[in-house]
C-alpha cells in the first residue's frame, strides 16, 4: 500500500529541470496497468470530465494543464472499472502509476446463486427469462404452476402454490417489489387446484429460491419467490382476449414525455358454460366464477427515481356438491366466496453515486366465507347431531387485514461489492367466526436485516447476512444467519454453497386456538454447480434441510415436531441444438420425513414424491407462424395415510397407508399468430390459442379420502380427465403477442 501511494504522488523534481515547461503549466504523466500488473494500452485520460489524452500501446500517457488546485483525474479503458483520483496540482510535475481493476460486469462474472433460479429480462444465452419461466404448457397464467416445471418443486395436482423440498405450500412466500403478497391465489377449495390472482407477465424479474435465500426476506421456511414488476411500458396499447370461459380487456397509456404511465385490466371467468360441455366430477351449483381487476401507475421521479403503484382486487365464488363419504344418500355441499384487495406502492432511487434506496408499502384485505352443509337427494339441508356428520355443517368467515412497510438501503463499493441493510414491519389482523366461535389474532412482526456482498478474489464472492425478527403475537425474538459463497472456475462453471436458518410463524389456523407457540424453523445447507455455454445451461444442486419446532396438535399443542429433507436436483436446458427449439429437462430426488400436526411419528408427508421429472419443450414453426408448447411431467407415487383419532386410547393412529400410482401428465399448447392490420400507426398482434391439459387422459390419483369408519376410500383425482381451451386474442399498439399467447398456456 505504501509503495502505491508513493507512486501516485512521486514528484519528479528532476523532470522540471529537463522539460521546457511554460510558466503556469503542469505536467501529469503516468503508466496504466491492470490489477495483475500487465500494461493496459490506449486508456482514455480526462481531467474533471474533459477528455485530455489517450495512453499509448505501452500504457504511458502524458498531458499538460494550466489548471491548479484540486482536479479529478479519470482513467478508463474497456473491460476495466473507471479509475478516479483527486489530485492537487501545485505546479510540480506528477508521475502516476495507475492500476485499473477488471470490470467483472463485462467479463465472466462470479455471482452468488446457490439455491435459486433467477429469471431476469437481462438473461443471456440459456439463462431463464421471466417469459421462459412462466410459459410452460399447462400453467394457466399461474406462476406457481409454471415453476413446478423447475427442479425442487413437487407436482401436486389437487392444491395450489409451491411445495418445495419437502415443505408445504405455506412454506413458500411470494414477494412483489420487496413486499409480501399475502394471498397470491384464489382461496383454496378442497381437492381442486385454484389459480393465481396476479398476471405473471407483470414481472421483469422472477427469482425462485428453493433454499438459502437472502437475509432481506424471511418468514418462509422453504422457498421465496421474489418478483420485480416492470417499469414503464414501451408504448400505449389496448388488448382483449375471448376464450369461452375467460374474457379480458385492458389497456395502458404511456405519457408523451415517456416519464409516466398508467394501465387498467379487467378479467372475468365463468366456467359454468364450459362445465356444461366438459363434465366435471364435483357438481358445481355456483360458479366457479372469478372477477379480477388491476390498475397501475408508474412514474419516474427525478433523474433516477421510480415510483410504482399497483392495485389488484378480485372476487371468486365456487360452490360444489360431492357425494358424502360417510353415507349413501347425502351430499356434501361446499361453497366458498372470496374477496381480496392488494395494493403495493414501491419506490427506488439512487441517493448518490453509491447509495440506493428501495422502499415499499403494501396493504391487503382478504375475506374467505365458507359454508358447508349436508343435503339429501332432494337438496334439502340436513342437520345431523352426531359425528362424523355434525362437524360437516359449518360456517366460517375470516377477514384478514394486512399491512407492511419496508426500506432497504444499499451502499455500493467497487468490484460489485455492496452492503445492504434495512427494516420492515408487518401488521396482520384476523377477525372471524367459525360457527359460534370467534377467531381473532393480531400480530406485529418487526424485522431488521443486513447483508454484505464481498469479493474475496476475482473468482470468489460471498454474501453474508443476518436477520432479526420479533413477533408480538409469539412474543419471541430470533436471529437468522444467512451465508453463501460462489467460486467461479476458469471454464465458466461455478460452484455455490449456501447456509441459512429460516424462521416462520405457525399458520393462522393453528394460532387461533393456541398462542403458546414459537417460531418454526428450517436450516438449509445447499451445494450447487452451474455451467452455461453455447446457449445451454446445466445445473446440479444437492441440499440438506433440517426442520425444527414444527407444530404438533397431538398429544399436546406444541412446537414438538421436527423433520428433514434431502435431495439432488438436475436441470438441463438447450436452446441451440435444434433450430427454433428450446427445451429443458429437470429431475428432482427428494427424501423427506416429518413429524408434525397429528402425525403419530415421523412420516413421509403426503405432498412429497421421491422422484419427479419434467420436460418442457417450445418449438416455433416459422413457416406457418405457429408456436407449439409441450410439457410432460412424471412423478413417483405419493404416500397417503388414513390418520384418525383412535377410540381405544392410542390417540392418533395410522389406520391405513399406501402409495398412489405414479403420476404423469402431458400438456399441449398451440398458438397461431397473425397480424390483421399490417400498415398504419397502430399495429396489431393477434392470434388463436388452443390447448389441452392431460392430453393422454391419464387417470391421476393424488391421494385418498377415508370415511370415518374406514369402509369407504375415495381417490382424489382431477375434476375432469382433460381440460380444453380455444380462443382469440388481440393486442393493438405494441408487440405483446408473447404475453397473450402465453397467458393461456
Amino acid at each position: 500500500m505504501k509503495k502505491a501511494t508513493l507512486q501516485y504522488y512521486l514528484p519528479v523534481l528532476l523532470l522540471t529541470l529537463l522539460c521546457d515547461i511554460a510558466a503556469g503549466q503542469q505536467k501529469v504523466s503516468g503508466t496504466v496497468k491492470n490489477d495483475q500488473g500487465a500494461v493496459v494500452p490506449f486508456a482514455s485520460v480526462s481531467f474533471n470530465g474533459v477528455a485530455q489524452t489517450q495512453a499509448d500501446s505501452a500504457g504511458y500517457f502524458s498531458l499538460e494543464t494550466k489548471a491548479s488546485g484540486k482536479r479529478v483525474l479519470s482513467v478508463s479503458a474497456v473491460g476495466y472499472k473507471p479509475f478516479k483520483k483527486e489530485l492537487v496540482l501545485t505546479g510540480v510535475p506528477l508521475l502516476l502509476g495507475i492500476i485499473l481493476q477488471h470490470d467483472t460486469r463485462t467479463l465472466n462474472e462470479v455471482s452468488v446463486s446457490a439455491g435459486s433460479f433467477d429469471a431476469s429480462d437481462k438473461a443471456k444465452g440459456a439463462a431463464l427469462t421471466p417469459i421462459d419461466a412462466v410459459t410452460v404448457a399447462g400453467s394457466n397464467a399461474d406462476i406457481t404452476q409454471a415453476l413446478r416445471a423447475l427442479p425442487g418443486a413437487q407436482q401436486i395436482g389437487e392444491q395450489d402454490g409451491l411445495f418445495v423440498r419437502g415443505g408445504t405450500n405455506d412454506e413458500t412466500k411470494q414477494f412483489v417489489d420487496g413486499t409480501l403478497l399475502k394471498n397470491p391465489n384464489y382461496p383454496a377449495v378442497p381437492g381442486i387446484r385454484q389459480y393465481a390472482r396476479i398476471n405473471p407477465f407483470l414481472f421483469k424479474g422472477i427469482l425462485f429460491s428453493s433454499g438459502g435465500y437472502s437475509a432481506l426476506y424471511g418468514q418462509a421456511m422453504s422457498s421465496a419467490l421474489i418478483m420485480e414488476s416492470v417499469d414503464l411500458p414501451e408504448k400505449s396499447s389496448a388488448r382483449f382476449n375471448i376464450f369461452p370461459a375467460n374474457w379480458g380487456i385492458g389497456g395502458q397509456r404511456l405519457a408523451k414525455n415517456n416519464r409516466s404511465s398508467y394501465g387498467i385490466n379487467i378479467n372475468y371467468s365463468d366456467q359454468s358454460f364450459y362445465n356444461s360441455i366438459v363434465r366435471q366430477t364435483p357438481d358445481y351449483f355456483s360458479g366457479p366464477r372469478y372477477l379480477q381487476g388491476d390498475a397501475n401507475l408508474r412514474m419516474k421521479t427525478g433523474k433516477t427515481g421510480m415510483l410504482k403503484l399497483y392495485t389488484n382486487w378480485s372476487y371468486s365464488d365456487v360452490g360444489m356438491s360431492n357425494p358424502d363419504i360417510d353415507s349413501n344418500n347425502l351430499k356434501d355441499r361446499f361453497q366458498l366466496k372470496g374477496k381480496n384487495t392488494y395494493t403495493n406502492l414501491s419506490y427506488r432511487d439512487f441517493l448518490s453515486d453509491n447509495w440506493k434506496i428501495d422502499a415499499g408499502i403494501a396493504f391487503s384485505y382478504n375475506q374467505d366465507k365458507t359454508v358447508n352443509q349436508l343435503a339429501d337427494a332432494a337438496g334439502e339441508t340436513q342437520y345431523l347431531p352426531d359425528e362424523p356428520f355434525r362437524s360437516k355443517a359449518f360456517y366460517r368467515n375470516i377477514n384478514t387485514y394486512f399491512a407492511q412497510a419496508r426500506a432497504v438501503f444499499t451502499r455500493m463499493f467497487y468490484n460489485n461489492q455492496a452492503i445492504r441493510f434495512g427494516a420492515e414491519h408487518f401488521y396482520a389482523n384476523d377477525k372471524g367466526v367459525r360457527n359460534d366461535t370467534n377467531l381473532a389474532l393480531t400480530d406485529q412482526l418487526t424485522a431488521v436485516f443486513a447483508e454484505g456482498d464481498i469479493r474475496l478474489a476475482d473468482n470468489l464472492a460471498a454474501r453474508i447476512g443476518a436477520r432479526l425478527e420479533y413477533s408480538s403475537l409469539l412474543d419471541k425474538m430470533v436471529i437468522a444467519p444467512r451465508a453463501s459463497i460462489a467460486y467461479r472456475l476458469k471454464d465458466g462453471g461455478q460452484f455455490n454453497l449456501a447456509y441459512g436458518i429460516f424462521y416462520q410463524e405457525p399458520v393462522s389456523d393453528l394460532l387461533y386456538s393456541n398462542r403458546n407457540l414459537d417460531f418454526t424453523n428450517a436450516t438449509h445447507y445447499v451445494l450447487n454447480y452451474t455451467r452455461k455455454k453455447n446457449n445451454c445451461f446445466f445445473r446440479v444442486e444437492a441440499y440438506y434441510k433440517q426442520y425444527n419446532k414444527l407444530v404438533k396438535t397431538y398429544p399436546v399443542f406444541s412446537n414438538g415436531g421436527n423433520g428433514y429433507a434431502k435431495g439432488i436436483e438436475l436441470f438441463w436446458r438447450d436452446k441451440r441444438s435444434v433450430k427454433d427449439l428450446d427445451y429443458w429437462i429437470t429431475y428432482t430426488y427428494l427424501d423427506t420425513k416429518r413429524n408434525f400436526l397429528d402425525y403419530p411419528y415421523a412420516l413421509k408427508p403426503a405432498f412429497a414424491a421421491p422422484h419427479t421429472a419434467t420436460i418442457a419443450i417450445k418449438k416455433m414453426f416459422q413457416a406457418i407462424n405457429t408456436n407449439v408448447n409441450v410439457s410432460y411431467s412424471v412423478a413417483a407415487g405419493r404416500p397417503y395415510y388414513d390418520i384418525r383419532y383412535s377410540a381405544d386410547g392410542d390417540g392418533y393412529k395410522v389406520f391405513d397407508q399406501g402409495k398412489t400410482r405414479a403420476y404423469n401428465v402431458l400438456n399441449l399448447h398451440i398458438a397461431y399468430l397473425t397480424r390483421l392490420f399490417k400498415k398504419g400507426k397502430w399495429q396489431d398482434f393477434s392470434g388463436i390459442g388452443m390447448g389441452v391439459t392431460n392430453l393422454l387422459g391419464t387417470r391421476q390419483v393424488f391421494g385418498y379420502r377415508y370415511s370415518a369408519d374406514d369402509g369407504n376410500k375415495v381417490a382424489v383425482t382431477l375434476p375432469a380427465t382433460r381440460g380444453y381451451y380455444l380462443g382469440i386474442f388481440m393486442s393493438i399498439g405494441i408487440d405483446r403477442t408473447d404475453d397473450f399467447l402465453n397467458e393461456h398456456l
Binding site: 519528479v12 500501446s57 505501452a58 504511458y60 438473461a123 444465452g125 416455433m620
Partner: protein, 217 residues
C-alpha cells in the same frame, strides 16, 4: 530511483516520437485491412480488433474505430448461438462505433456515415443474439433504425444492402422476413461490390453475400 530515471527516458522519447507516427499509421491500417479481407474465425477478428483499436488510439481518424467495431460485430455474429459470450464484444463495438461517429462530420461525410451506421446496425444486431426474446424488442428495433438511416444516406451502399438482405433472410415471415427479397438484395449488393477497390475505405461484403446466397442452393 532507477524506475524514475526510466520513466523520464520514456517521457523524453515520447516527445520526439510523435512526429514520426502519422505516416506509419496509414501503412499499418492498410496492412490490417488487407488481413481483415482474409479473416474468418473469431481468433482472426479478435487479433485484428486489438490492432485496429491500437491504431485508433494513435490518430484522430474514424476508420480504425470503424474497423475495430466491425471486428467486434463479426465476432458477435460468429458467436450468434452462444448468448453468454456476446455482450462484451457487442458493448465494445458500440463504444468504438460511437467514437468513430464523433470523428466524422455528419453534415458532409454522408457516405462514411452510411458505412458506420451499417456497422452500428450489425453491432446492435449482435445484442439481439444475447437473448432474442428479451433483447430483441429494444435492440432489434435499434438495429433496424440504424440500417434505415444507412440506406437513406447512401442507397447504393452495398454493405447496407447486404445487412438488409441478412435481416430479410433471417426474420420470420410474419415479422417482415422475405427470403426471395433477401436473395434479390444479396445479388444487388454483389453487383455494387464489383466497383469495390482494395484500400482502407470500407469494401467488405463479397464473402458475406456469397455465404448468404449459398443457403439457396
Amino acid at each position: 530511483m532507477k524506475k524514475t530515471m526510466l520513466s523520464m527516458l520514456v517521457l523524453l522519447l515520447c516527445y520526439y516520437s510523435n512526429f514520426a507516427q502519422s505516416a506509419g499509421n496509414t501503412n499499418e491500417l492498410q496492412n490490417a485491412v488487407a488481413r481483415l479481407d482474409k479473416a474468418s474465425g473469431v481468433t482472426d477478428y479478435e487479433a485484428l480488433e486489438k490492432e485496429f483499436a491500437g491504431i485508433a488510439a494513435r490518430q484522430a481518424d474514424w476508420l480504425p474505430y470503424y474497423y475495430a467495431a466491425f471486428c467486434n460485430a463479426k465476432i458477435g455474429f460468429l458467436y450468434q448461438d452462444d448468448g453468454e459470450r456476446i455482450e462484451p464484444y457487442s458493448k465494445r463495438g458500440e463504444e468504438q462505433a460511437l467514437k468513430a461517429k464523433a470523428l466524422l462530420d455528419t453534415a458532409t461525410q454522408k457516405k462514411e456515415l452510411s458505412e458506420l451506421y451499417t456497422v452500428m446496425s450489425m453491432v446492435y444486431r449482435t445484442r439481439v443474439f444475447i437473448n432474442p426474446m428479451t433483447y430483441g424488442r429494444k435492440f432489434g428495433v435499434l438495429s433496424g433504425q440504424y440500417l434505415q438511416k444507412a440506406k437513406e444516406l447512401s442507397p447504393q451502399n452495398p454493405r447496407a444492402i447486404y445487412v438488409d438482405a441478412w435481416v430479410k433472410y433471417y426474420t420470420p415471415k410474419m415479422w417482415g422476413g422475405d427470403k426471395n427479397l433477401a436473395r434479390q438484395l444479396a445479388n444487388e449488393s454483389l453487383a455494387q461490390l464489383q466497383h469495390a477497390t482494395a484500400g482502407t475505405a470500407p469494401h467488405w461484403g463479397k464473402a458475406e453475400n456469397m455465404e448468404l446466397l449459398s443457403h439457396y442452393k
